[in-house]
């Protein structure tokens, strides 16, 4: 299974992840200055934005993993794609939830059809559909192949959806806009949070991937036994 050095690296990664999350919390809650107009609630931004970026990273990994799977047909690429989609959906769901609560806190409404939130919602649907294809497939290899196609087609859609929704929003602007400028200290805090969440993503995907590979190994063993 895992040799000593591999275990040490894993533990280091987990330790680093924990430390980074702690640092991120500090940066977001203590280090970053309070925003002038929005007050303390604006600190949600330091989790909301990194979750969005890492969610996007997750879907990029799904895209690459899907291409590589269709090319090489190796269960490893399939597992990486699936794991990344899972974690991506978790993170993107959090983006939507935190975005909603932020809107409630800042403007008193639970949802605003602003460009980024809307595009994120559409993206969320695409990757939930990815997971559903896996679930509804009649067998593993079919699920892997079909969801790989969706992983590719869906990701290509991302820039188009973003462009279209952006244009739609600029033509029908709402009164509420989600962003302002960034002071340098805010930028630093944001970057720390982005790194922290990226490491978290890596940890989760590694774990989920090895589980899927394990699952596939067990399936193979069972099939061999039956012969």
């Amino acid at each position: 299974m895992k040799n000593g050095r591999g275990k040490l690296r894993d533990d280091l990664l987990v330790g680093m992840g924990f430390a980074l999350m702690l640092a991120a919390l500090y940066m977001a809650l203590v280090y970053a200055p309070t925003e002038k107009y929005a007050g303390a609630v604006q600190r949600i931004f330091y989790f909301h934005v990194p979750l969005a970026w890492v969610g996007f990273l997750a879907f990029l990994v799904v895209f690459i993993g899907s291409i590589l799977y269709l090319w090489k047909r190796s269960v490893i690429w399939d597992s990486i794609a699936w794991a990344s989609a899972e974690v991506g959906v978790v993170f993107t769901s959090l983006v939507l939830i935190t975005g909603s609560i932020w809107a409630k806190a800042a403007w008193g409404i639970w949802w605003t059809w602003d460009a980024r939130l809307t595009a994120t919602l559409v993206l969320w649907f695409v990757y939930v559909a990815y997971l559903m294809v896996r679930g509804y497939a009649r067998e593993e290899s079919q699920g892997a192949r079909l969801s790989a196609v969706l992983g590719i087609v869906g990701f290509i859609n991302v820039p188009i959806v973003a462009l279209a929704i952006n244009l739609w929003r600029t033509q029908h602007p709402t009164a509420l806009i989600f962003e302002g400028g960034l002071a340098p200290t805010m930028l630093v805090a944001l970057l720390v949070c982005v790194v922290a969440f990226t490491v978290l993503y890596i940890l989760l995907v590694r774990q989920a991937t090895s589980l899927k590979i394990l699952e596939s190994d067990i399936e193979n063993m069972k099939n061999l036994r039956l012969e």
């Binding site: 609630v41 899972e86 932020w102």
Partner: protein
């Protein structure tokens, strides 16, 4: 500063969801390990068709 309630809600939800996913992974790993072990310990338990 009354808005702090929302801030707390956000952070706890993020915490809860991530932790929930970690927990789900952990339970799955336990189940798979058990399956793997049982397969190893009982060779040729299945009759060939």
């Amino acid at each position: 500063m009354e808005n702090l309630g929302y801030l707390f809600a956000i952070y706890s939800i993020v915490w809860a969801v991530i932790f929930g996913y970690v927990f789900y992974l952990y339970r799955k790993q336990r189940k798979l390990r058990r399956e793997m072990d049982s397969l190893r310990d009982s060779p040729s338990k299945q009759e060939p068709d």
